[in-house]
């Protein structure tokens, strides 16, 4: 599903240049649940941003679902993001003046779907994350865990090939973290490919494979026995 070869990325910081990714090779198959671990500064978020086409690599090859991602214009990147990828952020990034349903329906709007279909689909995904009854609530009326579940529903709504989660539990307590991870596991079990960036070991162990980054290179790549989280939802 994802195939990257010799990926390099550096950031210019004034006169000096910071080499963040120093040749990453990674293959992720359909249906995998991969944790990308590493301390801050290891380049894990940069990797995720490049995978998410939010940022461009300086060098290397990136294949997503056998499509070469290269020399993207802003517009095609936006279309690819919309079609292939779903994002889950640490700080949820829900649009604060839209209610849960409207937030979930937003990627569908950018897919060009009609209003009625958007509503129906969005409600379907809200139901999937157990928040059907909260459809008309604004993000400010939801708890952290609920917000992240809305964000997950939003990421799912466009039926992407890959879900990218950047520290999805970073802003949550351990109980709601488990809830969210349980949801992610559930979605993964339905066959969705998911990448989770985290620096917490217990969260990483809830995935099926752990890729560890250090100073811009992969130092460890191992399959793990997945810790199954009880479904509280």
């Amino acid at each position: 599903m994802i195939s990257i070869k010799n990926l390099h990325k550096s950031y210019k910081m004034g006169d000096t240049s910071l080499h963040v990714l120093k040749g990453i090779d990674l293959n992720v198959n359909q249906g995998e649940l991969v944790a990308i671990m590493g301390s801050s500064g290891s380049g894990k978020s940069t990797l995720l941003n490049i995978l998410g086409m939010l940022d461009l690599a300086d060098e290397g090859e990136y294949l997503l679902d056998n499509v070469l991602i290269e020399g993207l214009t802003e517009t095609t990147a936006a279309n690819y993001r919309n079609k292939f990828l779903g994002f889950i952020f640490q700080s949820f990034n829900l649009i604060n003046y839209k209610n849960a349903l409207e937030n979930v329906a937003l990627p569908l709007y950018y897919q060009g779907l009609g209003r009625k279909i958007r509503q129906v689909k969005a409600l379907q995904y809200l139901e999937k994350v157990g928040l059907k009854d909260w459809a008309t609530h604004l993000p400010s009326e939801l708890s952290g865990g609920q917000k992240q579940r809305v964000a997950i529903a939003r990421a799912m709504a466009s039926q992407p090939k890959v879900l990218l989660a950047d520290e999805p539990t970073g802003a949550l307590d351990s109980k709601t973290s488990s809830e969210v991870m349980s949801l992610i596991q559930q979605i993964n079990n339905e066959g969705k490919t998911i990448l989770v960036v985290t620096h917490e070991l217990d969260i990483a162990h809830m995935c099926k494979r752990i890729v560890t980054l250090k100073d811009g290179v992969i130092v460890e790549d191992q399959s793990v026995d997945q810790v199954i989280v009880e479904n509280h939802v």
Binding site: Q90, N93, G114
Partner: protein, 409 residues
Amino acid sequence: MFNRDRWQEIYETIRKNRLRTFLSGFTVALGIFIFIVLFGFGNGLKNTFKQFFLDDATNTLWVSPGKTSKPYRGFKANRRIEFENSDLEDIKDNFKFFLEGITPRINRSARVRFRGESDNYSTRAVAPDHQYIEKTLIMQGRFINQDDIEKKTKNIVIGRLVAKDLFKKEDPIGKYLEIGSSAFKVVGVFQDQSGDREERLIYIPYTTQQLIEKNNDKINSIIVSFRPELSYTRALAFERQLRLFLKKKKSIDPRDNNGIRIRNVADQIRQNQRFAQVLQLIVAFVGIGTLIAGIIGISNIMVFVVKERTKELGVRKALGATPKSVIGMVLHESIFITTLSGITGMIAGIVLLSNMEDRLEEFFIIDPYIDNFTALVATILLILFGAVAGYIPAKRAASIKPIVAIRDE
């Protein structure tokens, strides 16, 4: 642009961001409102000015006799000069090229009676040309005509207020008034923009006045109007020649400035017109200033709005919004708001102006107005600049990488 979903999205955004919408809308509405009201007041000021100063015909010379101050050709100094009918004829004969109209004036005051009513009024004995020179408007009947002059008829034209005072609601035309000891027939009623004093006058044919006064041929003063197409320098030349001609005829020392007095209205008008131009300039300056202030205001609001939305726009981009759709959305929204509120402000301003009429007369603002073209152009300009002002930050926001926009501070 006419996508129903886009409208829906904008409607939602507007509905749920009332403060932001209100701020940008209010700025535009206020800007255009103030512009229209100030511009209208400026025009009102100009109206007042026109009424005060530009009422009489501008191409006139007021010639009046004085006392000589130098002895000349055997005449002593301090001699009183007098005008008579022959002077009128001589001016007519000698200045045909310049002349448009000429009238004498003999000012008197008399007790005027009609039935039980009586009062003191000023009378003015004139020739028919006086009507044009004083811009007298006939409301009823006619002005003094050439026939009256030749036959020395006892026909008079009375001011609007004379008619009101003496005749009340009765029709004065054809009625007889007693002025002094003789009866005159009213043939016309006039009004004059210059004010009440002018409308309490009675016009009499000058020949009739002379007949009553022992059939003399004396005239108080002469008013000459020259052809309006004459240039300013030509008009001055005419004034100079007329002065020389009269001095020669009346045997006044050419260097004596006191024998003949000529007031050139063109000269005064020129000054007044300059003042009016300055006034116009001030009005335009105030107008453009307000408009610029409005444009700066809407620009600031737009920068603020887009800045506030940077993160949201980043999220939208992460969810698949193209840069074009982001810019389009921001612009669409801002143009919608500015257009709506701009038109509201414009209409409010115009309504206020049209209800003002003479209510601010004591502040020298009469009948303030703004022509629709200026109002519309100003409104469109403000909307256009609002769009431009929104476009620049929107474009910048759209080009920011979503990851930068989303990043938590």
